[in-house]
Structures are given as structure tokens and as C-alpha cells.
Amino acid sequence: MDTGALLLSVELATLTTLLLVGLGLPLAWWLANTRWKGRFLVEAVVALPLVLPPTVLGFYLLVGLGPRSPAGRAFEAVVGHPFPFSFAGLLLASVLYSAPFAVQPFVGALAGVDRRLLEASHALGVSRLGTFFRVALPLAWPGVLAGTVLAFAHTLGEFGVVLMVGGNIPGRTRTLSVAIFDHVEALEYAAAHRTAALLLGVSFVVLALVHALRRGSLPAWNGR
């Protein structure tokens, strides 16, 4: 079976999700709080990658970050190898493409946190960062979880960008979704069914666990 591909998929999805949580939460926090007039532009730009077909986005990433572009040369200088066909490149592309799935629900959830509670935290001497982690994040939890789940699941299933940027190299950039796609295209339906069932099974367990977890952590005031 495609255990290598499965592992790669899970690794890519996990890292992408971690990066998106790490970068997306601060961005979302800023978007939810800023009074800057231009924030809607930023929100629109974050959502924009979505409207391009994934392979096309991948194509533009290859153009923009390929070895012929200045950005691509910078990438190579920093990371040590060229952008295309590398795991790091794949990760970058996945992060870009899945960003809206994480950031939009984050903003929605964080914007819903009662400001008075943040003020109460500040008045109690807790820094903005501490307040974010101790008050905003726990209260925005359902929405943050929604964004995280979307980002993870979407990265698992994504194959357009991955195919384009990753080059479908077995063991390195061939994820499970690409493998299933290949099976279907090659008319190897039995193998496709097996792999899809594996992916669905694993994902179902992960998703069910995540959602079951959330049930327990609903704030009590919502249970009264």
C-alpha cells in the first residue's frame, strides 16, 4: 500500500496546519482588532488564492518562485535547494493555498470575542499576548478549530498545487491524494478504492476525534 504517500500526506498536512495556525492566528487577531480602514483589502488578498484553480496557482508559483525568478533565487539561497519539487516548496504552496480556510474562520471567531473580557484581562495586568492565549483563543475555540480542521483536511485532499509544485516524486512529493488521482487516471480502480478508503478512514477517525474533543471544551456559559 501507499504508506509512504500516506505518511507524506499526513506530514505535509500537519506541518501546513501548524504553520497556518502559527501565522494565521496572529494575522487573524490583527484583522479582528485593527481599526485600519484598509483591512478589507488584506482580507480579500488572503482569500484570493482560492479562486484560482490549484494547478494554475501551482503554475504561477513555479513561474514566480522558479529558479529563473529573483524570489526563487532568494528561496534557493535561504533554504539551500530550489523551490520546485522539494518538500519545502510543497509546504509553502500548501500554506498559501490553504491560508483562507484557516484565516477566515479564525477572524470570524476572534471577532466574536467579547471585548469586555479582553479589557478585564488587561486591567488584571495580563499582556496582550497573554490575553490572547488565556482569553481570546479559548473563547474563539469553536471557530479556530473549524479553521484548523478545514486547513488540515483540505491539505490532505489537495493535489493540484501539490502535483504542480511537487512533481509527483515518489517518497518525496507524491502525497496520497496524488497517488489516488494517479490510480484513477491509470484505471487502476481497485487500488484507487483501497487508497481512498484508507484516506477516508484515517481522516474520519481524526475528524471525529477533533470534533469529539471540542464537545468537551465548550464554555460552560453556553451550556446553561
Binding site: T55, F59, L62, V63, G66, P67, R68, P82, P84, F85, L163, M164, G167, N168, I169, F181, D182, V184, E185, A186, L187, E188
Partner: protein, 235 residues
């Protein structure tokens, strides 16, 4: 409007030739409009099984039409090989590689980091490319450097963006404007497994006679001229 329409599903690599056939065919049949859907042969196969409203399927190899016939979705009599695929090695301008001078084996040289081919599992030209590398005795040496496009189009995109240093492409594609800056080395027909492009009229076709006519046109003199003009061999 008012006339009949013919829907053709054609492998993406056939696009330039098919577009020419369509023009000629429509000119010859004024009341007929031909709409062509380009895509991957594997996708078409799945869609035809699901009852896609195609009249004619022009594949990039023989295998898919054979399967169509085997599955009873087309008659054996309506299947026809109309072209032979020609594989080329494409290198961008400024590449130090000169395959004409140094032979195919030079692809395994140290200056080549990435070699783009179509995925052999799904694309006939990918299988041919793999075969060519194998007969040159360098497949194992370059396996680590292969990047697989889902289609020949994607392999070409890897090349045009500079992501790959060498690409194995159908000759037809290498003639495209975007690849014009590079150097094309046409491999001899015997350097790789033979690629037979076949078409089949689908038994679900609403316009079966027209579809047969179109396939006949493709295999006929006008069609053959277009094929050679766009880098295909003839059966």
C-alpha cells in the same frame, strides 16, 4: 444553430491537429458544428463509462480505446489507429546539453538536476519517455531526477518555467510557441516503445455516422497532412 453538433473527446496532446481537422471538417459539413473537449485519456475513460455525451474518443494511445471496446462501449470496427506519436527531448535555450552531439545518455550528466516527463502510469508519452531512458540504459541513473507531470502539458510547464532542465515531450507540443526558444531533439521512432494513437466511435454516440466521418477524415489524406505538420508520425 439549427445544425447537428458532434462532440469529440480528444487527448490534450492532439490539440493542434484536432483543431485543424475541426476547421476542415466544418468547412466540408456546413450544417455541422464540432465541439472538442481536450483532457486526459484516463478521465475520458471514466466519463465515458458514466455515460458522457461524447460521440468520438481520440486517445493518445491504443490502450484506452481497446478498453472501451472491451467494455462494450464501442465497436471494434469503429476503432482506428490514426497516428504514431513522436517523442522529442526539449532543452531550454542556453542549456549546455546537446543531445544531437552527445546522445541521449548525456541526459544523465551531472548538469541535469530535473528531468520532466509525463507520468508513465497515466500518460502514453510518459511511458514512451521511460522506455527511451531505459533503452539508453540511464533510467536507473536518472530515476531520482524524474519529475512527473500528470499530462504532457504539465511536463511542458515544468520545462517552460525553468523548474526542469530537460523535458520529454510529444513533438506536437514542442512546436508550440511557448517552447519555441528551446532546442528540440527528435528521438528516432525505435528509441522508445511505439505510441499508437487510436480513436473509437462510441456506441452511445448520437451522431455515430458523423463521428465515423470525422475519424475517417482524421485518418484520411487531409487529416494525415495535419498530423505530419504537427509532429506526428503516420501508421
Amino acid at each position: 444553430g439549427g445544425g447537428t453538433s458532434l462532440t469529440v473527446a480528444a487527448a490534450a496532446s492532439l490539440k493542434p491537429a484536432v483543431e485543424e481537422w475541426r476547421r476542415d471538417f466544418e468547412a466540408a459539413h456546413p450544417r455541422v458544428s464540432v465541439s472538442v473537449v481536450f483532457g486526459a485519456s484516463g478521465t475520458f475513460f471514466a466519463q465515458i463509462q458514466a455515460g458522457a455525451p461524447f460521440d468520438l474518443f481520440l486517445s493518445a494511445d491504443r490502450e484506452y480505446p481497446d478498453r472501451i471496446v472491451a467494455a462494450g462501449l464501442g465497436a471494434a470496427a469503429d476503432e482506428k489507429v490514426f497516428a504514431i506519436g513522436r517523442l522529442v527531448v526539449w532543452t531550454p535555450s542556453g542549456s549546455p546539453l546537446d543531445i544531437g552531439r552527445d546522445g541521449l545518455a548525456s541526459v544523465a550528466g551531472p548538469g541535469v538536476r530535473r528531468i520532466a516527463i509525463a507520468n508513465p502510469a497515466v500518460a502514453p508519452f510518459g511511458r514512451a519517455a521511460e522506455g527511451a531512458l531505459r533503452s539508453a540504459g540511464i533510467l536507473d541513473a536518472v530515476r531520482e531526477r524524474l519529475v512527473l507531470g500528470t499530462s504532457v502539458g504539465q511536463a511542458a510547464q515544468f520545462a517552460t518555467t525553468g523548474a526542469a532542465d530537460v523535458a520529454f515531450l510529444p513533438w506536437s507540443l514542442a512546436l508550440e510557441k511557448e517552447l519555441a526558444g528551446g532546442r528540440v531533439f527528435v528521438l528516432p521512432e525505435n528509441a522508445h516503445p511505439r505510441i499508437e494513437l487510436a480513436g473509437v466511435v462510441l456506441s452511445a454516440a448520437r451522431e455515430a455516422p458523423l463521428a465515423r466521418a470525422f475519424l475517417a477524415h482524421a485518418a484520411g489524406p487531409g487529416g494525415r497532412a495535419a498530423l505530419t505538420g504537427h509532429g506526428f508520425g503516420l501508421p
